[in-house]
């Protein structure tokens, strides 16, 4: 049985975990001081050796990304932290920042030093006022302590760190849209190449990393690459935050080595809510193809989830039991993608609109079986033909749900609407039953 490994979350149970004093009580900022005495390239090598991969969804090796930044080019370099966390189901970065914003700041110091950036930004979604307060206060306190600004830690290195607050647009989590947004434009994805490492913010070499990726760096510096890579699986190293939500007895955050299974996480946490059975779940947010109870033993690492036909994504494990209507769930996600489509490319802009129309008809029992083929056909035309991964993601819930639950779609047609009672799926229903 895999054991939980709290590292990022190790001190979240202390009331002042978010203050600079609370952070320093456990050696906070020591890793930054240590890194600043190393050669920048040695820091990059250490992160490469650790095997850390991006926690924002795609799993790209972090050290390698840093290594792509051209050196000695006499250009400004930038670090941009992606704290947009808006992928449905994803809820790890916000509690992390609420409980310990300083670990991200320390990670920013180390990463900026490694890639020779003198300016770093944290782009945070705008719908989380108290998280914004915590991060802003932490930045202010880090400046006051001499950890940001001029000559940090007396090392001769300068670093400015700015918190940039978004304003409600899922697409700004996509790294190139984020950069356009940060430059003061509408947040729409850019054509790649050039990649941000060559021409990112203000067309300068830029690293974009997820909150959890950067927050994992101080521990790697403190304990070493071997310590980190001793956790996890062959190609998916280290510990990570798994977020369990939905029809479970105890939803919450679980920090475990990569490769733990949903069966193990359910056993540790108390299982699916009493009296009910697992029906379907997402391994990493709504853009990752759904799984069923057949995938309880799939190792939740990058390779394991891919091999089973989905993606590890953000490790947002949204659990739905048999009271949940698959068509309702998929329609709601599809409405989200339609609403959030930035409109730049036709397959996604027009396609998501059509997907919603057809799914609405199917849910209300008005469609026909041929509509399922139409849905799959539309998905085929969106997948791989869209300008960015939002379009691809929009097709995931549809194609995977038709694959596993075709009969339930058809049941809506024979039943003249949804055969399930939506109230039975609510938390209030189980509370009333005294479960």
């Amino acid at each position: 049985m895999t054991q939980l490994t709290p590292v990022l979350s190790a001190h979240w149970d202390e009331k002042d975990s978010f203050t600079i004093a609370g952070y320093k009580r456990h050696g906070g900022y020591d890793a930054a001081a240590k890194a600043l005495k190393m050669e920048p390239d040695a820091v990059i090598q250490l992160v490469k050796d650790s095997g850390l991969r991006g926690r924002g969804g795609a799993g790209f090796p972090t050290g390698m990304k840093w290594g792509f930044i051209p050196q000695g080019d006499n250009k400004d370099h930038y670090l941009v932290v992606n704290a947009d966390e808006s992928e449905p189901g994803t809820c790890k970065d916000m509690p992390l920042l609420l409980a310990n914003p300083h670990v991200l700041i320390e990670g920013c110091i180390i990463a900026s030093y490694a890639i020779r950036a003198k300016y770093a930004f944290i782009y945070i979604r705008g719908e989380v006022t108290h998280v914004v307060r915590r991060v802003q206060q932490a930045i202010d306190d880090a400046y006051a302590a001499g950890h940001l600004g001029k000559n940090i830690f007396g090392s001769g290195v300068d670093l400015e760190l700015v918190l940039h607050v978004g304003a409600g647009a899922y697409i700004c989590g996509e790294e190139t849209a984020l950069l356009d947004s940060l430059e003061g434009f509408r947040g729409q994805p850019r054509l790649r190449p050039p990649f941000p490492a060559i021409a990112g913010l203000y067309a300068r070499p830029t690293v974009v990393n997820n909150v959890e990726s950067i927050a994992s760096v101080p521990a790697i510096i403190a304990h070493g690459a071997e310590w980190f890579s001793s956790m996890g699986t062959e190609k998916s190293k280290g510990m990570t935050l798994y977020s369990l939500s939905g029809h479970v007895t105890n939803p919450g955050q679980f920090e475990a080595p990569l490769g733990i299974t949903l069966r193990e996480l359910l056993e540790i946490s108390g299982g699916v809510r009493a009296g009910h059975q697992l029906k379907f779940w997402t391994p990493g947010g709504s853009s990752t193809p759904i799984f069923t109870s057949a995938h309880l033993d799939t190792p939740l690492d990058y390779e394991g989830v891919s091999a089973a036909g989905s993606m590890l994504g953000t490790k947002a494990l949204q659990i739905f039991d048999e009271t949940t209507c698959i068509v309702r769930a998929v329609l709601r996600w599809t409405e989200f993608y339609k609403h959030e489509s930035c409109g730049k490319c036709t397959p996604c802009r027009e396609g998501t609109w059509w997907l919603v129309q057809i799914l609405r008809d199917l849910e209300s029992g008005k469609g026909s079986e041929a509509d399922l083929e139409k849905l799959l056909d539309l998905c085929d035309n969106i997948m791989g033909r869209s300008f960015c991964a939002l379009g691809d993601g929009a097709t995931s819930p549809i194609t995977s749900s038709i694959n596993y639950f075709r009969e339930e779609y058809i049941a809506h047609l024979t039943h003249g609407g949804c055969p399930l009672d939506p109230h039975a799926a609510t938390v209030f229903a189980s509370a009333k039953a005294g479960v």
Binding site: S86, H130, V165, A167, G184, Q253, P422, F428
Partner: protein
């Protein structure tokens, strides 16, 4: 409301955060919203002038993002998460219950100007579902009744405190200033984490103790 000299100075300090001034457009829009309550033509013109842009360029940005409001919202802006997970867990019932209770539709404002209502997308709090936000503060694990009580408390002028947030819910304009990057001194209030956030840690500690 016209912008005062002090407002213009704050705007300059926001612009100075960035290597290039156009980057300040989003915090400036949040700031303009903190003065006027929504994005007014005066706000657009002032920002355009500050950044040497056309007003059309500023408008194009403002209209792209849903948090910038084109008309006044309530003193307390309530968002009910109706993305799939929260919707299934009870968000749809909460949203329907609030519409009925307040007598307003999506994007509506009560006649007293106290409360506005909107259904929102996943707010990164799914382990606290069903989730309601007010002025973008977390109200976790809501029921239809608790959400009705919440809006009643707002209309009575004594809004209930967020579950993970400041001791006192700030109003819409005050909140917008925080989103513009202005530290209001409330960061140290409220819990460091909700119970679900600590679940894995607590289980792990119990296991370690045997």
């Amino acid at each position: 409301m016209a912008f005062t000299d002090k407002d213009l100075q704050v705007m300059d300090s926001i612009i100075n955060r960035y290597p290039r001034k156009r980057s300040a457009i989003m915090p400036l829009l949040h700031y303009a919203q903190s003065r006027d309550g929504f994005i007014t033509s005066d706000g657009i013109e002032t920002i355009a002038k500050k950044l040497d842009l056309e007003t059309a360029e500023v408008s194009a940005v403002a209209t792209f993002y849903t948090q910038y409001k084109r008309k006044p919202v309530g003193e307390y802006h309530v968002g009910v998460c109706t993305n799939t997970l929260c919707a299934v867990m009870g968000g749809d019932e909460i949203f329907a219950g609030l519409k009925d209770h307040l007598g307003i539709e999506n994007d509506g404002v009560t006649a007293d100007g106290k409360v506005s209502l909107e259904h929102i997308e996943c707010n990164a709090a799914c382990d606290f579902a069903p989730v309601v936000m007010a002025n973008w503060e977390f109200y976790d694990n809501q029921t239809v009744q608790s959400a009705k009580d919440l809006v009643d408390s707002m209309r009575a002028g004594k809004p209930k405190a967020p579950t993970r947030g400041p001791d006192v819910l700030q109003n819409w304009k005050e909140t917008s200033a925080v989103l513009a990057g202005i530290n209001d001194g409330h960061a140290n209030e409220g819990v460091q984490a909700g119970a679900p956030t600590l679940l894995g840690l607590n289980i792990s500690k119990k296991g370690a103790r045997g």
